[in-house]
Symmetry: C2
C-alpha cells in the first residue's frame, strides 16, 4: 500500500477534478502490476495495473489507495475490471465519498466473492485527496491560504514593497502549491499592486518531467468593485480566468490572450455589505470540479476567508527577518479578546531554503 | 571532548560570572577523572578531575573545554595544577578570551613540556559560553530577547490581554531561559500591566536536582519615567533587583523583601530623547559579571534593543493561533523600506509542547 500511495502521489499535479489514485497488484509476494491515475478521462490506476499484470492478476491481491469506482463514467467501473481479471483479494486504503461510489465499489467486489480488506493506511490515503474528499462530502473545495511573512508577521512594508521577503526555494515551493491547485484565488488589489501573472512556470517548480502538470490552474480574480480594466498582466498569460464580480457583468476591454475568460456574478454577501459572497464562490468552484484552491492575496481577502471560517489550511513561509510594526499585517482580522482567537493545528514545519515553511489546518478547538 | 562538553553543560545554571567548563582525564583509553565547574569561587573543572584521577593523572591526557587559567584568582591557576599532576598532553577545545588568560594558559603548559592540542570541537565549546566570550571580548553581555507570539506575530490583544498565548511547556522553557541568565531585563510598562514576579520557580523549570540553580538572576527594571512605587509584586519576591532610572535616584517607598535593591542612574541616551541609555546599562551589567541577559518586556523595550543593534538572539515561542490585526505587534520598530529590514539567521527551530520555538541570532547580512 505504501508503494500504491507513492504511485498515487505521481498524480498530484494532474488528476483533478478526479482524485489521485495508485494501484499495485501482487502475486506470490511479487509486484506484477502497478499504475496510477494520470488525468481525468484517461484510464484509472487499476486499469493501468491490470494491463501490466495481464494473466498474472488471476488470484492476485490488488492494493488500491481509494475504493474502486462502481459506476460508468468516462471509463468503465474499475470494480468490474478487478472482478473480470480474477483477483482474489482487494486491499483498499479508504472509501470513496463520491455519492456515485460510497461503498458500492467494495460491495460489488464482495458480491463477486472477492475478499475485501479496508481501511489500510487510511489517514495517508485521505491526506493526499483531502480536497476531493471535502468537495464530495461538503460541496466546498479545500481552501489553502498561502502567505509569505517576516518573523513579526508582516507581509510587506506600509508602502506595499515586498519583493522579496522569502528566498527562491520558497518561491519555487509556491509554484508547486499552485501546480497542485485547481484554482488560484486573488483579489483586484493584488492584481493592481503587484501585477502578478499567477501562472505555474513549470521550469521553476522543480517537478519531475513525469509529473509535469497538464494544465494551468484556473485563476480566479475577485473584483467586487469592478476596478480591473483587462489590461493587467494577468490577462495576457496562458490559462483560464474566472472574474468574480458583484451585480451585473461588465465586459472587460480585452479578453484573455491564451485561454478563456469567464465571468461569475456573486450574490451579495448578507452580513458584509457590498462584498462577494465567498461561500457562494467556493460552491461555484466546487461545481466546476475544483478540489483544492489556493488563495494568494493581500491581507484583506485572506483575512476575509479566515474570518468566514472558510480557510482549511494555512501555508506560511516565514523569512528570518523583521519588517517592523509599521509594515502590513499578515491578515486583516478584527479580533478583540483572547477568546476570539482562531486556533490551528500544526501539520508540518520544515525549512525550505532559508525560510521556515509552516503548514497548519483548522482546528475545532477554540 | 564530547564528554567534557556534556560535563560543562551541567554548569549551565550556576557558574556565572564564570564560564561553564568540563574536564575529562584519560589514561590508556580509560577515563580516570572528570569534573565540571559548579560555581564561582569553588574549584574549577580541572581541579575536580585531577582530584578524582589522583596518581593516574601522571602521563595521562586531559581534555578541557576551555583554556586552563593561568592566573591566581579565587583559586590557583589550573595550568599549574595540570603541570604538577604530570599530565602528558592537554587537548583544549578553545582559547579563553579573558585578558587574564588569552593564550597564557596554553603557553604555560607548553613551557612545561606538555603537548597541547587545540582547538577541538571549538564551535560547540564557544556556543556554551557565548555570553562569557562576548563579555570578555566586547564588554557587553549576550542579549537574548524572548517573546511569545501568535502566527501573525502578535503578543497580546489591543487591550493587553495575553494570558496565555503559549502552552505550559513553552512557559517551562522560559523558566529555563531565566535560570541560565545572569539578569532579566523588563520595563516599567510590563511591571505595571502584567505585575510579574520575573523569578525562577525551580519546580517549574524541569531542571534536574544536580543542576538546580544556586541563585536567582538579577532582575533589572527599566523605569525611565519613575513610574513604579515599589508596591508592585516584583519587589516582594526573593532575589536582587536593579532599578535603572534616568537622572537623580528617587528612593522607593519600600525595599525588596528578600534580596537587595540597587539603583542605577543612566546617562541620557544621545539620540532618543529622555530614554535610558541601553548600551550604558548593558556595560554596567557586564561590569557586574553578567554573561547572558534575557529581555522579557513589551514591544517598546524589545524593539528598542533590536533597533539599537543590541539584541544578539531572538527566542520566539509561536503558538498556532491568530490574534488578528488589531492585536499588539511583536516589536515596536519603525522601518519604512525593505532595505531597512533586519535580517537574522536561524539557530534552532523545534516544537516545545504545542508551540514552535524559533531561535535566531543576529546576522551581518543586510
Amino acid at each position: 500500500m505504501a508503494r500504491a500511495l507513492q504511485l498515487a502521489a505521481l498524480g498530484l499535479y494532474s488528476t483533478s477534478p478526479n482524485p489521485r489514485v495508485g494501484c499495485v497488484i501482487v502475486r506470490d509476494g511479487e509486484i506484477v502490476g502497478e499504475g496510477w491515475h494520470q488525468k481525468a478521462g484517461e484510464p484509472h490506476a487499476e486499469v493501468h495495473a491490470l494491463r501490466m499484470a495481464g494473466d498474472k492478476a488471476r488470484s492476485a491481491t490488488a492494493y488500491v489507495t481509494l475504493e474502486p469506482c462502481s459506476h460508468h463514467g468516462r471509463t468503465p467501473p474499475c470494480a468490474e475490471g478487478l472482478i473480470n481479471a480474477g483477483v482474489a483479494r482487494v486491499v483498499g486504503a479508504c472509501s470513496d465519498p463520491n455519492p456515485l461510489v460510497a461503498g458500492r465499489g467494495y460491495n460489488m467486489l464482495r458480491d463477486a466473492g472477492i475478499e475485501v480488506i479496508t481501511p489500510c493506511l487510511e489517514a495517508q490515503a485521505i491526506e493526499i485527496n483531502r480536497g476531493f474528499m471535502q468537495r464530495m462530502s461538503s460541496g466546498l473545495p479545500l481552501v489553502r491560504i498561502k502567505l509569505a511573512q517576516s518573523l513579526d508577521g508582516r507581509t510587506a512594508m506600509a508602502s506595499g514593497e515586498s519583493q522579496w521577503i522569502t528566498g527562491p526555494q520558497a518561491r519555487a515551493d509556491v509554484q508547486r502549491l499552485r501546480a497542485r491547485s485547481c484554482a488560484i484565488i486573488t483579489g483586484a488589489d493584488s492584481v493592481l499592486i503587484d501585477n502578478p501573472s499567477m501562472t505555474v512556470r513549470p521550469a521553476e517548480t522543480g517537478i519531475e518531467q513525469e509529473q509535469r502538470l497538464w494544465r494551468q490552474p484556473l485563476r480566479v480574480i475577485i473584483d467586487g468593485q469592478q476596478r480591473l480594466s483587462g489590461n493587467e498582466a494577468i490577462f495576457s498569460q496562458a490559462g483560464d480566468i474566472l472574474l468574480a464580480q458583484l451585480g451585473d457583468e461588465r465586459p472587460l476591454q480585452r479578453a484573455v490572450e491564451l485561454g478563456s475568460l469567464s465571468q461569475w456574478s456573486s450574490p451579495q454577501a448578507e452580513d458584509t455589505g457590498r462584498h462577494i459572497d465567498l461561500t457562494a464562490l467556493l460552491q461555484h468552484l466546487a461545481q466546476l470540479g475544483c478540489n483544492e484552491v489556493l488563495v494568494e492575496s493581500g491581507a484583506q481577502l485572506a483575512g476575509a476567508f479566515v474570518a468566514a471560517g472558510l480557510a482549511d489550511e494555512l501555508v506560511l513561509y516565514c523569512a528570518p527577518t523583521l519588517l517592523g510594526s509599521n509594515a502590513r499585517p499578515l491578515l486583516s482580522l478584527g479580533l478583540d479578546s483572547m477568546n476570539e482567537q482562531i486556533r490551528w493545528q500544526w501539520n508540518d514545519v520544515r525549512m525550505v531554503g532559508n525560510d521556515l515553511k509552516m503548514v497548519l489546518s483548522r482546528t475545532s478547538e477554540t
